[in-house]
């Protein structure tokens, strides 16, 4: 018997929002934090319970649905507020609630004494609520609710320090760019409604598993439109521009929203609608291509970054690119595994960077750090673990997850994809090494007292680091499609008669091991090299960078894509809008209206000259008029 009241999961954070939001005015910081953490903690416990139930249930029974009430109805189309938990969802939920809870806990210390303390926790809780709605919604529209809701929270939290213009600009940019993606998402939903007359995931899956006779092109268009939404939310090329700016937000926000959960929603969503992708062949290569471009592009940019958080931001974009590569190869399980792994280690890295920034009093430029390993060893070591996981070094979780994706790319699309994946991985290792070398090794460039992290900082870091080391177990046994994680998730990606998702032609085990070894060796070499160069020979590297200023700026600014968008979108639109205000509306449209009035006035003025004011003229004209009238009457009469 499965637990049915799954609506409690999002409900608890919502209650937290209400308590803190409506009654919290007189609460102290401790009460606010307690309420916020408890609500998420209870949800987490509940989620663990559900996970446990799912583990002991047979694969076919691992689905819980619960429909609350009819929300919107239009003729035969019924949209319910209903929830759905299957292995896919519970994996995501665990990431959200586990990382979410840890970050809530971390924020108690990080945000201490900030003026917007309560506001921060309200928004954080609200975010968890919407994220759960996104993941648990059993239909497209409800998912869209969560989708937009997390966008809102992201907007609010990026702009948490709203008095900084850059922060509120960044928040707004995030929202608007996301909306561009959501535009596609919404049209996709409409097309689904028009085609299927339902938005329920379970029903859609049933229809698609059967003999439906819907043209592939329609399915492909739907997939592409929905994918647009995912591109926006997951900051993929070309809609990635908002994520680096989003680092204006407080670091826990970057950790939770812009690394571990929200930005991964796109990947999750693609997995959720995998039946569409599966049946529209040419969409998968497009997704893989977008993922690949993003993965390599963002890794390049990350190498050139100076701000510790921006390195991580670009790295996030890049890693999500890998996840999309996995989706594009049809190996959804691998994508989800990387998502979970990334949620853990990237959360760890961001929290670590928060601890670093806190330690060096708000300094974010890694050039001005260095040698921090001596002063804050716990942070440094956990950070290193996170970086190793990110770079995919054995035995961290990233090794298992990333390898599966790169091999999957080779299996499906051949050697070119493998090479790009490989290149991206090397670049990842490089910037990981650079980051650690610059910030923690070598001589200290930071003048001033270094704050030691307290319990609220250390505990989350250690917990996440432990997870990052041991979660790799889920990826065993390697080189098979039947890892522990896949055994659990598999049933989510079963499209009935359609067979298993992956369409690879199978490669010999020896080749696979060889590829993995090559990748690992190169990655380790790259990270060691970067560590060495940036710690021991920092001067050389700095000189090198200053000699290639143009290139470094090119990387730092993300290939000038922001500038490009500014030129081709923002400026013209602004220009059009000001032009249509000052000229079109005032001169032409309103000009016509006022012109009509003016013409009437002019005619009146001209005619009013006949009013001389001399009574006798009026008299004469009356007489004259009488003659004319009489004359006309006469003419008609006789």
């Amino acid at each position: 018997m499965l637990f049915k009241a799954i609506y409690l999961l999002p409900l608890l954070p919502a209650i937290g929002v209400l308590i803190n939001g409506l009654l919290g005015k007189r609460f102290g910081e401790k009460t606010v934090a307690f309420v916020a953490c408890t609500s998420v903690g209870l949800s987490l416990i509940l989620a663990i319970g559900i996970l446990h139930q799912m583990l002991i249930a047979s694969p076919a029974e691992r689905v819980i649905t619960s429909s609350l009430y009819r929300w919107i109805s239009d003729g035969s189309l019924q949209i319910n507020v209903g929830f759905l938990i299957d292995p896919l969802a519970i994996a995501m939920i665990m990431v959200i609630l586990f990382v979410g809870f840890i970050i809530h806990f971390y924020s108690i210390g990080y945000m201490e004494g900030e003026p917007g303390y309560r506001r921060f926790f309200v928004h954080l809780n609200l975010f968890i609520f919407f994220m759960l709605i996104l993941v648990m919604g059993d239909n497209l529209i409800l998912t869209f609710v969560g989708w937009e809701g997390v966008g809102l929270c992201s907007y609010l939290l990026i702009g948490h320090w709203y008095e900084k213009k850059s922060a509120s600009d960044a928040g707004r940019k995030a929202f608007v760019v996301n909306r561009v993606g959501d535009f596609g998402f919404m049209l996709g939903i409409f097309l689904v409604i028009v085609t299927f007359n339902t938005v329920n995931f379970v029903e859609l899956k049933t229809i698609l598993a059967g003999n439906h006779g819907i043209p592939t092109v329609t399915l492909a268009i739907i997939s592409l439109l929905l994918f647009t939404g995912a591109v926006g939310k997951s900051a993929q090329f070309p809609l990635h521009v908002w994520l680096p700016d989003a680092m204006e937000g407080p670091t826990p926000v970057s950790a939770l929203i812009h690394a571990a959960t929200m930005v991964n929603a796109g990947v999750y969503f693609m997995c959720r609608i995998f039946p569409f992708l599966q049946q529209s062949q040419f969409v998968l290569p497009i997704i893989a291509l977008v993922g690949m471009i993003t993965a390599v592009y963002a890794a390049c940019c990350a190498v050139g970054q100076k701000d510790i958080k921006k390195v991580l931001a670009y790295s996030t974009i890049s890693q999500i690119g890998y996840m999309f590569m996995a989706v594009g190869c049809g190996i959804y399980v691998a994508g989800m595994f990387h998502l979970v792994a990334h949620g853990i280690f990237k959360g760890l890295l961001f929290l670590g960077s928060g601890a670093v920034i806190h330690a060096v009093k708000g300094e974010q430029d890694i050039v001005n750090m260095g040698g921090l390993i001596k002063t804050i060893p716990v942070t440094a070591i956990t950070f290193l673990i996170g970086l190793l996981a990110l770079a995919g070094i054995f035995p961290m979780v990233g090794f298992f997850s990333k390898d599966a994706i790169i091999m999957g790319g080779y299996e499906t699309y051949g050697i070119v994809y493998w090479l790009f994946g490989f290149g991206g991985a090397i670049l990842t290792a490089l910037y990981c090494g650079k980051l650690f070398g610059m910030a923690f090794l070598g001589e200290s460039n930071f003048t001033g007292h270094v704050h030691k992290p307290n319990f609220f900082f250390k505990a989350p870091l250690v917990i996440l680091a432990v997870c990052a080391v041991f979660l790799g177990i889920l990826g065993i046994p390697m080189f098979t499609k039947n890892t522990y994680f896949a055994q659990f998730m598999g049933s989510s990606f079963n499209l009935g008669a359609g067979g298993h998702a992956a369409a690879g032609h199978g490669i010999p085990l020896s080749l696979e091991i060889a590829f993995t070894l090559i990748l690992s060796v190169f990655a380790i070499a790259a990270i060691v090299l970067a560590l060495f160069m940036y710690s021991k020979h920092r001067k050389t590297m700095v000189d090198f960078e200053s000699r290639h200023k143009g290139l470094m700026m090119f990387l730092l600014k993300g290939f000038w894509i922001d500038k490009l968008y500014d030129t081709i979108w923002v400026r013209p639109l602004k220009w059009i809008s000001f032009y249509s205000d000052s000229v079109c509306d005032h001169r032409i449209v309103d000009g016509a209206v006022n012109g009509t009035g003016k013409i009437a006035m002019e005619v009146g003025k001209t005619l009013s000259r006949m009013q001389t004011g001399y009574v006798r003229y009026y008299a004469v004209s009356i007489v004259f008029g009488v003659f004319v009238l009489v004359g006309i009457t006469m003419m008609f009469l006789f």
Binding site: W71, W147, E148, L152, G159, F175, V176, F183, V589
Partner: protein
């Protein structure tokens, strides 16, 4: 019990009572009590209304000027059901927000608001077109006076522009109404103005086209549909806060109401014929209005242009010729009334505190007026259609309707998702976020209790509609289908569709 008569004329009675005494307290209290009572009476139809009946309900029919076939005929359906409480609700809000802010001719001010309410309620329940026209014109005068007497600097220009523009539209409608009365004599049951009789007429297409245009222009000006929109920014900017709120919240809805109430059943073939044109105009309004809103620095103007954009979308939805769009249109009327009304109230509240509406001079107010900022945020989000709030439901249905009509119509309409976010959030940022610019030395109070009392119900309603739209959608379902059936069952339209099929 003639409930509709009670609903319509209760404010009139109240306004007479207001006239008994000049004292401030008396005037305010009586107006408020009247408005509240009126609000309660407009809720009665919710209990009486049967959502599965497609004909007009709660009808009252009394012969009035029998020699001209004019009768006193009232009735409601799922279309007007929601507009009545919206009207009376916003009137209560408007009376509350102008509580202490009217310095001259206070008595007249409140009487005008009550009369305005009479006019608007009358428009929404009249089934005799002559009666409708009377209410339609009656409502102009109080609005004209509200702008003219209590407006800001350039009020005369705005008031006269509003009056003449609207009157010019109404004249066409009047002509068409008279023609219709004669048509009824020639083809139907004798010279008369009863809408229910008119609906039965089968008017030849040529005539339909002309009559449709005449009616439509009057309504389009009211909506206002591009290119008839230029009176709106002027009127909004000059009108007092409550005037703007009621203008945007209710008066604009009368245009949409008219289109659905008259154009749909009376001229179905003309509707089908003109649909492409109107949809294009609506889409232009959506996008053009959003661009204009983006260019503004005056808060009120921005909200006014955003209204144009939103109303354009409603027009697109209702002319998409499917039940989805019509239902979306009806519910979005309510939504837009609530959120734009509330936006104007908030802008007015800001103006009272900072004495400016120039966004370049505002800024950084979130720290100083946190409660106001929170309300403002909620309303802004509702206005840009954030899911979970009312705007989303309306937008989804409207856009889905448009999408069903033609995919690109839905696509272009959906740009409002992006554009709305662009201008609204930029506005919010310039007003509430960043550093303070020039209001630093002013003493700015946060919302007082009275203002909270106004805003809280609005916010609750916003969430209620957003979370439980079925409560509303179910009630309008039958009426929307009925409106649609006029179009689909009209013989000429059936023939047109058949032709299309043959061509395909």
């Amino acid at each position: 019990m003639p409930i509709l008569t009670l609903i319509v004329f209760l404010p009139l009675v109240g306004s007479i009572v207001v006239l008994f005494n000049r004292e401030r307290m008396w005037v305010q209290t009586v107006s408020l009590v009247t408005a509240l009572l009126s609000f309660i009476t407009t809720l009665i139809p919710f209990w009486v209304f049967k959502s599965d009946v497609s004909s007009f309900q709660m009808q009252e029919l009394i012969p009035w000027i029998t020699s001209l076939g004019i009768s006193y005929h009232l009735g409601i359906d799922g279309l007007s059901l929601f507009l009545l409480p919206l009207t009376s609700f916003l009137t209560v809000a408007c009376i509350l927000i102008s509580w202490n802010h009217i310095k001259i001719k206070e008595q007249l001010y409140f009487v005008m608001f009550l009369w305005l309410e009479v006019g608007v309620l009358g428009v929404f329940v009249a089934l005799d077109v002559f009666l409708f026209y009377i209410f339609w014109e009656v409502m102009l005068i109080p609005m004209f006076l509200i702008i003219l007497i209590w407006g800001s600097d350039n009020r005369r220009y705005a008031a006269v522009k509003f009056l003449i523009y609207t009157m010019a539209g109404s004249v066409f409608m009047l002509i068409a109404i008279i023609v219709m009365a004669f048509l009824n004599q020639n083809m139907g049951s004798g010279f008369g103005f009863d809408l229910v009789d008119w609906i039965k007429l089968d008017i030849p297409f040529n005539l339909q086209a002309w009559l449709f245009v005449a009616f439509f222009v009057a309504f389009a000006i009211k909506v206002p549909l591009f290119p008839f929109h230029t009176w709106l920014p002027d009127a909004h900017v000059q009108a007092p806060t409550a005037g703007s709120a009621i203008l945007a919240g209710i008066l604009l809805k009368m245009g949409i109401y008219g289109m659905l109430r008259f154009c749909y059943p009376l001229f179905p073939e003309a509707v089908v014929y003109f649909t492409p044109t109107i949809i294009v105009l609506g889409l232009v309004g959506v996008i053009y209005g959003a661009f204009l809103a983006f260019a503004q620095t005056d808060l009120k103007k921005l909200v006014a242009y955003s209204s144009i954009s939103h109303m354009g979308l409603i027009v697109v939805g209702i002319f998409a010729l499917n039940a989805t769009g019509i239902k979306g249109g009806i519910i979005q009327m309510v939504n837009h009334g609530l959120s734009t009304g509330a936006l104007f109230i908030l802008v007015g509240a800001l103006y009272e505190r900072t004495h400016t509406r120039d966004m370049d001079k505002l800024g950084g107010l979130a720290t100083r007026v946190p409660v106001l900022a929170t309300f403002f945020m909620i309303i802004v989000l509702s206005s840009i259609g954030l899911p979970g709030m009312n705007g989303f439901v309306g937008e989804v249905l409207l856009l889905l309707g448009a999408f069903k009509y033609k995919w690109w119509v839905g696509g272009l309409g959906a740009t409002t998702l992006i554009l709305g976010a662009v201008y609204m959030l930029w506005m919010y940022q310039r007003v509430m976020f960043e550093k303070e610019r020039s209001c630093g030395d002013l003493i700015i109070h946060d919302f007082c209790l009275r203002e909270k009392i106004v805003m809280v119900p609005i916010v609750l309603l916003i969430f209620f509609i957003g979370l439980f739209p079925s409560f509303f959608l179910d009630k309008m379902d039958t009426s929307a289908n009925k409106l649609l059936s006029y179009i689909n069952n009209s013989p000429a339209v059936v023939a047109m569709v058949d032709n299309d099929k043959v061509i395909k």
